[in-house]
Amino acid sequence: MSLPNDNTNSKKAALLAAFPLTIPVLTGYLVLGAAYGILMNSKGFPILWSLVASIFIYAGSMQFVTVTLLAAGFDPIGAFLMTIAVNARHIFYGVSMLKQYRGLGMVKPYLIFALTDETFSIVCSAKVPEDVNAKWFYLFISLLNQSYWITGTVLGGLLGSMLTFNTKGIDFVLTALFVVILINQWRSTSNHLPAMIGIGSAILCRLVFGATNFIIPSMLTILVLVTLLKTPMERGKSQ
């Protein structure tokens, strides 16, 4: 038997604070995870492999790319380079979370491993509630999101084509999540230059480099612009 202590209470508070923030991801990951499970199933991969991928890769767009890569033939070096190219945007997430993720001890490696687009968008924009321990708060957001992704994958792999409900367009829930975070960020500051640099660079690079190759050029453009504008931007911040 155990009496409730501060530790379990603080974990519970963190879980309660984290869960509502992950609800949009719940919908998106269940559906996209299921889509991945169904796709792998249709290519003849036993569910074990979808599960392995969702546990150990845990990167949505990359997992879909692996299906294409496997269809093309066994090429480990090509697969490695493709992985770096598709996932290069994660580097920016890490840089952005360097400060918040300092001093979080044992959970930190998992927090870093689980830094997907969606998890990043939540942890970078959510304020840790005052009475909540940051470590548990970030851990629960990360764990909940991955559990949705894994659950979706398994459901998709098991039920496969039995799902007849028309889910076309439901993945827009993740676009909507990013749009809402963008609006919240926009309203939280008077300096809209960073947001405009992000959107502008990405649109420009999408037009110049095409849909499959524009993320790395976008990152470089953003890096150059925010570096050039460092002085005016910092002056604006202190006003």
Binding site: P20, P24, A53, F56, I57, A59, T66, L69, F74, P76, A79, F80, T83, I84, R89, H90, I91, Y93, G94, V95, S96, L98, K99, R102, K108, I112, F120, S121, C124, S125, K168, G169, I170, F172, V173, L174, T175, A176, L177, F178, V179, V180, L182, I183, R187, P194, A195, G198, I199, A202, R206, A211, F214, I215, I222, L223, V226, T227, K230, E234
Partner: protein
């Protein structure tokens, strides 16, 4: 599927390691005991505001303004999310409403 188990283990390990590498790199370069340089701190402050915009564009990367339906489902849904969110300030309502509207638009209105 024409792969041996060991080929698949190797394949998924490589993709997993590549992904982990992109996530862990900044934390390896700036470990806990090392002071984060001023410039990197500046990037850490400013990048979240630029990346979310980039992510929105990333989600819309396959949308074309030149082909039917001329990005109308996306434009209408994002406009609705924006208005709803500024008006009601309820994150789940904005996201749920926007996604539902988008599904209705692509399933029933702009059927192509």
């Amino acid at each position: 599927m024409n792969y041996t188990t060991s080929q698949l283990i190797l394949f998924f390990s490589i993709v997993s390691l590549g992904t982990i590498l992109t996530r862990v790199l900044p934390f390896v370069i700036f470990p806990e005991h090392k002071e984060i340089p001023k410039y990197i701190k500046y990037l850490a402050d400013i990048l979240p505001f630029t990346i979310i915009g980039m992510l929105v564009v990333y989600c819309l990367k396959n949308v074309s303004l030149l082909r039917v339906p001329f990005a109308l489902p996306e434009i209408i849904s994002i406009a609705t999310i924006t208005i709803l969110h500024i008006w009601k300030k309820n994150t789940l309502l904005s996201i749920g409403g926007g996604a539902l509207l988008y599904m209705i638009l692509v399933q029933y209105v702009f059927v192509g």
